[in-house]
């Protein structure tokens, strides 16, 4: 569970870390990409996944470019961004209903079975999702050290005004970050869809859980987000195992509330940077 959650969490963290804008539509956009993948699934699995990811990247890029960046330049606050991005989410959910008139889909990826981890059976898919998230994180870190794009991202996230003054094309950086974030959410949705199934409204679960997990980890702090995703995933599995599935979310969200009362900035603290 934590492994799959880590991808939308990473998406949330990348977008928020760089742009400072909370995008609540990210899960719905990811699930939209999941449905796009499903649509092309019969022709070629690899191609279908690639199309889904690219579509999400483009959606994220365009939304940031034409909608969110201009609003943030005019000084939009978090409430405004909440309303706007949730509305964007409903637009995409509505489009899902219109374009894919099916309540739920399942992406039949080739099964690769389970492994035994200290007495618990864990789906390989979850492990792969987690590894994928960690590799993505390491790639981002390496890019920050060694490439101009990565350095520009980091600079933009740390000091937007100065980044503009030294000549970084911050509008492009924002759009790119938003595209990458949505693409990560799409990959998360594809993993989700192959383990469970994707419903038209799954995006809200994915997106909001991604956000909550990110906030618990320290929003914008990617390592915190990953650790938080793992812990929350385990909490869900254990509480389901001990008290039954019905109590899962009660216990999970009570823990979230308690953690945030004790540490309002999350487990590792938010520094709004990568």
């Amino acid at each position: 569970m934590g492994g799959i959650l880590s991808l939308p969490v990473l998406g949330v963290a990348v977008i928020y870390g760089i742009t400072g804008i909370p995008n609540f539509a990210i899960g719905v956009i990811g699930v939209f990409g999941g449905f796009v993948t499903w649509y092309f699934f019969s022709s070629s699995i690899g191609l279908a996944i690639a199309i889904g990811i690219v579509v999400c990247f483009i959606i994220g890029f365009i939304i940031q470019r034409v909608l969110l960046t201009p609003i943030s330049e005019k000084g939009g606050d978090s409430t405004l961004f909440f309303i706007i991005t949730v509305s964007v989410g409903f637009v995409f959910e509505g489009m899902l209903r219109a374009i894919f008139p099916r309540p739920n889909i399942s992406l039949e990826l080739p099964r690769i079975g389970t492994m035994n981890l200290g007495g618990f059976t864990v789906e390989w898919f979850k492990i792969i999702a987690l590894v994928f998230a960690i590799v993505t994180l390491i790639v981002i870190r390496l890019m920050e050290e060694h490439t101009e794009i990565g350095k520009s991202w980091q600079a933009t996230s740390q000091n937007l005004k100065l980044a503009k003054l030294v000549g970084i094309k911050t509008t492009q950086v924002f759009s790119f970050a938003s595209g990458i974030g949505c693409a990560l959410a799409c990959i998360g949705a594809i993993f989700w869809g192959s383990l469970y199934n994707l419903q038209l409204s799954s995006g809200w679960d994915l997106g909001f859980m991604g956000f909550i997990v990110a906030v618990v980890g320290g929003i914008g702090n990617i390592w915190g987000g990953l650790i938080s995703a793992l812990i929350m995933g385990m909490v869900m599995s254990f509480s389901g195992y001990l008290f039954g599935g019905e109590w899962q979310s009660v216990i999970l969200y009570l823990i979230v509330i308690i953690v945030l009362i004790i540490a309002p900035k999350g487990i590792l603290g938010s520094e709004r940077s990568l």
């Binding site: 101009e148 350095k151 520009s152 980091q154 600079a155 100065l162 003054l165 030294v166 970084i168 520094e271």
Partner: protein, 238 residues
């Protein structure tokens, strides 16, 4: 001033109904060091921010290198050669000194970049020693050097520096101004700095006196006495 590199006329900048600048005329020639002096709240920072484009202007013209730029974005002005070093938030706090400089040369040709960074290290050797250190762990004076270093590395034709001496120990201020002078002599850049420190008289070729958003004087250094400049501050205090 028709042949000036940077030429501003009738510049008015307002925040809501309060105007921080009221129809200012201002200019800077190529290779000059121009000081803008005046008490707190005179509009010095607003003038520099208006020139760089980080604050929208209400009225007036800004011409730079013969082109009218007053409605250009920060980035476009920067590409043409105007660079502002703000008073606060002028470093990338969680990046190393080296990386701070590396992102600042982003608009320059690749084969020139290293040279610009080396020049910053030559002017401020301490930054070379501390190049691997995270910027916000530097001392206040070193952070100020880094901020100016970012400006130098960017190789902009005009550097606008907002109160570089604020908070520096008196001995450091003298040294700092000497460095700015050296930078101008080496690179032939134009430097426009706002200041509250009287020592700016030692390096500026020309001074603008700003008070309550209006120009009080525009004089060459030779024509100004310390008393006149001091009077601008004291007058507003008294």
């Amino acid at each position: 001033m028709d042949n000036a590199l940077l030429n501003v006329s009738g510049l008015t900048t307002c925040y809501g109904s309060i105007c921080a600048l009221k129809s200012i005329d201002f200019y800077a020639h190529d290779g000059e060091i121009v000081g803008i002096v005046g008490p707190n709240g005179a509009g010095k920072s607003t003038l520099l921010e208006s020139l760089a484009g980080s604050v929208p202007i209400s009225e007036g013209r800004i011409e730079f290198m013969g082109r009218r730029i007053d409605h250009w974005s920060v980035l476009k002005r920067r590409q043409l050669g105007l660079m502002l070093i703000p008073q606060e938030g002028n470093i990338f706090p969680l990046m190393s000194v080296k990386k701070n400089l590396e992102v600042s040369v982003i608009l320059s040709k690749r084969d020139k970049r290293e040279g610009f960074i080396d020049y910053v290290y030559k002017i401020f050797p301490i930054l070379y020693e501390r190049r691997k250190q995270i910027a916000n762990t530097l001392s206040g004076g070193q952070q100020r050097m880094l901020a100016v270093g970012i400006g130098i590395a960017s190789n902009a034709r005009v550097m606008l520096i907002d109160e570089p001496s604020i908070g520096l120990a008196p001995k450091l201020v003298t040294k700092f101004f000497e460095n700015l002078n050296k930078i101008r002599d080496d690179t032939h850049k134009t430097i426009v700095l706002s200041e509250q420190n009287i020592k700016v008289l030692n390096i500026a070729d020309r001074l603008f006196g700003l008070e309550a958003g209006e120009i009080r004087f525009d004089e060459k250094k030779e024509n100004l006495s310390r008393d006149v400049v001091k009077d601008l501050y004291l007058g507003s205090l008294g």
